[in-house]
Amino acid sequence: MPDLNPISWWLKLLALPNESRTKTLAVAFLVSGVCALVVSSAAVILEPLQEANRAAERQARLEAMMAAMPGMADILSESGADRLESVVVDLNKTAVTDIDPAGFDMRAAATDPETSTPIPPEADVAGLGRRTNYAVVHILRSGDALRLVILPISAAGYQSTIHANLALQGDLNTVAGLSIVEQGETPGLGARIEEPAWQALWPGKKLANAEGEIRLSVVRGRATNEYEVDGITGATRTGNAVTEAVQFWLGDFGYGPLLDKLRAGALDQ
C-alpha cells in the first residue's frame, strides 16, 4: 500500500540530502512558485490604485499643457473654463457620441475587439495593431471660432508604447503644443522626450503642406524648416515613433476625417 499522506511526503522531501536532484528541482519549483504568486497578487491587488494615480497624472499634464500654451490663460479667462469641452468622437462615423468622456477609457477601448478596428498592415505606420473606435478629444472655442483642438496620439516606441497629446491651433495646421503623457523609453536617451525643453520645440510647427500632405516629423539633428522638430541624440527610434504617431493619427485612418469636418464647420454637437 503506497503512502498517500501529503505530510509524510513533505517530511520525506525535507529529509532528502540537499544535493539530491529531486530536492534541487523541488526547491527551485517551490521557490519560483511562491515568488510568482506573491508578485502577481501584488500586481493585481495594487493595479486599481496605480491606474488612478496614472489617470490623475494624465489630467495634470493636460492642464499643465493648457497652462503652458501662449495666450491660453487669456482665452480661458475671457470665455470661462467650461468652454473647453471634452467629447468622445466615433472615428469610424466621424461623429460626436453621447458617451461621457469623464469615465471613458480609451486604452481599454483600443484593446477590446468590440470597440476597436484592426489597422490594415499598410496603414499601420505606428505599429499599434488596433485602433480604438472612440477617442476623447478636447475642443476649445471662443464664440463660434475654433481656438484649439487637443488630440490623444500614440505609437509603439523603441521599448514602450508612447502616449501623447497633440494640441492644434484653430487653423488645424499649426501645432500649439505636444505633451508626452506616458512613455517607458531608455532613461537618459529616449525618455528625454518628457523634458519640457524638448516639448517646447513643438509650438508653431506646421502640420501639412499646401497639398495636405502630413509633413511634420522629428528629424535627426537640427530642424531646417517649419515642418521639422530637432531630434534627440541617441534616441532616433524614439523620435521616429513620435513622427509615426503624428503621421498615423492625423492621417486618413486617424483624425484626418474629423479634422476635415471641423475645418468645414460640419461637426455636429
Partner: protein, 218 residues
C-alpha cells in the same frame, strides 16, 4: 546582549557604505533630495529585512548548487512588490526614483548580506543584521541627501530653508551638488572623517615603497 551587536555594529563600525563600500551606485543616484533618499532607504530596509528573514528560515534546505539563484529570485520578487507598493502609494516619488527601486536587486548590499550572513545564521540574528545594515545604509544616504539638497537647492524635504536668489533671497544654489560626482566627494569626506575617529578602520597599505640604499642607477 551579544546578539544586539549585529544590530548596532553595521551602523558605524561595519557600515556597508563607508567601510565595505557596497551599494555605492544607488547612494550616488538617489541622494539629490531627502525625500527620494528616505523612500529609497525605507524600500531597501524592507527588502533587506524580509529577504534575510526568508533566506535564513529556509537556509538548511537550499541546495548549494542553486543557492545564488534562489536568493536572487526571492530578492527580485520582494523588490517588484516594493516597487508596486511605491507606485500605488507614493506615485510622485516613484516617478523621481524611476528605475532605481528596481535596481535594488543589483544592490550588492542585499545579496551580500544574504550570502554572507543569512545563509549561515538563524532568523533572529539574520533579522538584526539586516536591520542594522539597512540602518547603516540609510544613515549615509540621509546624510548625503541632506548635504546635497540643502546646498544644491536650499531646501529640505522640499521645504525652503535658504531662500535662493531666484526667489529674491541671498542663497546661490550650488548646481554641482545635484550632479552625481558631488556624492563621491561627500562620501569620500565622510569616510575620511569616520576613519579619523575610528583608526581601526584604516586598512594597511597593500604595498610599501622602500628605497634600496644599495640601488645604483642602471
Amino acid at each position: 546582549m551579544r546578539a544586539l551587536r549585529h544590530l548596532y555594529s553595521p551602523i558605524i563600525d561595519q557600515n556597508p557604505i563607508t567601510l565595505q563600500i557596497l551599494g555605492i551606485c544607488s547612494a550616488l543616484a538617489v541622494t539629490t533630495s531627502m525625500t527620494t533618499s528616505a523612500v529609497m532607504a525605507v524600500a531597501l530596509i524592507a527588502v533587506l529585512v524580509i529577504s534575510s528573514l526568508v533566506i535564513s528560515a529556509i537556509r538548511r534546505h537550499i541546495p548549494n548548487t542553486i543557492r545564488l539563484i534562489v536568493q536572487i529570485t526571492i530578492i527580485a520578487s520582494l523588490v517588484i512588490v516594493a516597487d508596486q507598493l511605491i507606485q500605488a502609494f507614493a506615485f510622485n516619488v516613484s516617478q523621481r526614483l524611476s528605475i532605481f527601486v528596481g535596481l535594488i536587486v543589483t544592490n550588492c548590499l542585499v545579496l551580500g548580506r544574504a550570502e554572507a550572513f543569512a545563509m549561515q545564521n538563524p532568523p533572529g540574528p539574520a533579522l538584526l543584521d539586516a536591520l542594522g545594515n539597512g540602518l547603516g545604509y540609510s544613515l549615509i544616504l540621509l546624510i548625503v541627501g541632506f548635504i546635497r539638497e540643502l546646498l544644491g537647492a536650499g531646501t529640505l524635504f522640499g521645504f525652503t530653508v535658504f531662500v535662493s536668489i531666484y526667489d529674491g533671497g541671498w542663497f546661490t544654489p550650488l548646481n554641482f551638488m545635484l550632479l552625481a560626482p558631488s556624492a563621491f566627494f561627500i562620501l569620500g569626506l565622510l569616510i575620511w572623517g569616520i576613519r579619523t575617529f575610528r583608526p581601526a578602520q584604516i586598512e594597511p597599505p597593500d604595498y610599501k615603497i622602500t628605497i634600496d640604499p644599495n640601488r645604483r642607477a642602471p
